[in-house]
């Protein structure tokens, strides 16, 4: 470990150094420490509380006494003590024997303190806990963001369009369930791993993007949590390097991230994929995505995220070379639709079919709002419909569909873009 040990110093400088170090440890190890503390007790909330007290102690102690050589182990030791104190203080019905067991289990940390880098990394197990089938699917992504990365409920609430109070309550309920229901802290056995891993990947992806936002359906809606979600996806691929879907998810995210800047003009206006300048794309990220996808395909099991990443890579190739590849794109959407027949996939598939066989073929392939009530309030559905109706020459209906899409859109830049498309139909 790098020699972080330092001498006591004047307080302002010491404060700053302590804070920087604490922040660095929080960034890299928060989830690792929570996972370790919660694995034995199953009490995630208690682990978080103890850890936040430990961080507070660190900020008080380190400036006076100097930063410890192994800050991770220091935090773990203090948090462990706080946690045992809290359990004793609560007089919850814990048998003395069980308390001893908890204390012993947590005591392993003290041994680990002697050997840096030996704190076992149980973050993956903790992620599987958060994305367990017993946990409501809607709260899995927020839960992972909180317990692995230490984000507070307020920041998470904004991204998921919930009130901070409601988000806090739901997170609390989920943690209670983890404790009460005895959800096991382990990485699932190989035979159940694929389906359980899907739930983890879905949660990470949900953190990355709340949905598809542009009419082309080819770019991912930007959210503040993008970076955090990429960190999580990377973590999963590091801990499970042989899982093709984990690699596929990271590739998909890299593709979306690579085109982020190109999605906005300098004045902030929205640029659809077909009009983006490939020179603005981050080619390093695209290359990494391609490498990951190759690695995934060599592992031999196809899945949703690999297909979605392959679609992104087909879009990139078409835009770069100017060579239409809609037949390939439709084939990929067919496969994706067969695997995960969501309305979102159906909409994008219809748009690709329209490129290949014309607007009316695309309209025929569009799902019907009457058949799926969720579509009635789904902006991309109306935007895609409007686009195809306009291409087919049914301008009145196209204008009406644009009107609904405009009314449902959240992003002001995309809203203006849709208004432009709508007014382009004026007089036709």
């Amino acid at each position: 470990m790098i020699g972080l040990q330092s001498n006591p110093m004047n307080s302002r400088e010491g404060d700053e150094q302590a804070r920087n170090l604490a922040e660095a440890v929080a960034r890299c190890c928060y989830g690792k420490l929570v996972a370790f503390l919660a694995a034995r007790t199953h009490d995630v909330a208690a682990a978080e509380d103890a850890l936040s007290e430990a961080f507070a102690s660190a900020l008080a102690d380190w400036p006076r006494k100097g930063c410890p050589a192994n800050p991770e182990a220091w935090l773990l030791t203090v948090a462990r003590r706080k946690m045992i104190d809290a359990f004793r203080g609560q007089r919850r019905e814990i048998a003395g024997e069980e308390l001893q067991e908890i204390a012993d289990g947590l005591g392993a940390a003290a041994l680990a303190a002697e050997i840096p880098n030996q704190i076992p990394d149980q973050r993956l197990a903790l992620m599987f806990v958060c994305a367990h089938p017993a946990i409501d699917a809607g709260i899995r992504a927020p839960l992972i963001l909180q317990v692995i990365l230490g984000l507070d409920a307020k920041a998470i609430a904004s991204a998921f369009l919930l009130s901070p109070a409601a988000m806090g309550k739901r997170l609390g309920r989920a943690k209670e369930k983890i404790r009460e229901a005895g959800i096991p802290f382990r990485v699932p056995e190989p035979e159940e791993l694929p389906s359980r891993l899907d739930a983890v990947l879905d949660a990470v992806y949900a953190a990355f993007a709340e949905g598809w936002s542009d009419p082309g359906g080819t770019d991912v809606a930007r959210r503040d949590l993008t970076e955090e979600a990429m960190f999580l996806a990377r973590l999963v691929t590091e801990l499970l390097p042989q899982e093709p879907e984990a690699l596929g998810l990271l590739a998909l995210m890299l593709h979306a991230e690579a085109r982020r800047r190109a999605r906005r003009r300098e004045d902030g206006e929205y640029v659809p994929l077909a009009e983006q300048d490939p020179a603005v794309w981050n080619s390093q990220m695209i290359d990494e995505a391609e490498t990951l996808l190759l690695r995934a395909s060599a592992l031999g099991t196809l899945g949703r995220y690999q297909l979605e990443a392959a679609l992104q890579s087909a879009h990139v190739d078409r835009c770069r070379t100017g060579r239409a590849n809609w037949a390939e794109v439709v084939r990929l959407y067919d496969a994706l639709f067969a695997l995960a027949g969501s309305p979102v996939v159906a909409i994008n598939r219809a748009l690709a079919i329209a490129e290949l066989h014309g607007a009316s073929a695309g309209l025929d392939a569009m799902p019907e709002a009457a058949a799926d009530p969720r579509l009635a309030e789904y902006q991309p559905y109306w935007a895609a419909r409007a686009e195809l109706l306009a291409k087919a020459g049914t301008y009145g209906e196209a204008r009406r569909a644009y009107e609904i899409a405009i009314g449902l859109e959240r992003d002001p830049a995309v809203r203006r873009f849709l208004q432009m498309r709508q007014s382009a139909l004026d007089g036709r």
Partner: protein, 117 residues
């Protein structure tokens, strides 16, 4: 449940916009209202005249006091409202996020105090 979505925007912004931008802005609100209507969520909505037209009234020391101008003098002013009827707060928030005012101001979401029938 009914919620009042109150839109707070900087009303000076409007006069600084070009006619084309004003038209685009108004059209966005129209479309938003239509979307609410189509979803069966709209109970009522109105746009308010600017705060320069506002008058505040209160009774202090048994004397009525009438003042020119709005009650709260802030950068953003109450500019209108949408009264909506939706399943729960989550649904109300997702509609608030779609309101054009969320992009250039603030939308406050308040549940209506329902009277027992």
């Amino acid at each position: 449940m009914q919620y009042l979505l109150m839109t707070y925007v900087n009303e000076n912004g409007w006069s600084k916009m070009t006619p084309a931008e004003q038209q685009q802005g108004a059209a966005a609100y129209m479309a938003y209202g239509e979307a609410l209507k189509k979803a069966g969520a709209l109970v009522g909505s109105n746009r308010l005249q600017p705060t320069s037209t506002a008058t505040t009234v209160r009774i202090a020391n048994s004397k009525s006091q009438v003042l020119d101008g709005p009650y709260v003098d802030s950068k953003e002013q109450l500019g209108g409202y949408f009264l909506i009827d939706v399943k729960d707060l989550d649904a109300a928030i997702s509609w608030a996020a779609r309101c054009p005012a969320a992009g250039h101001g603030v939308v406050e979401v308040r549940p209506i105090w329902s009277m027992p029938a």
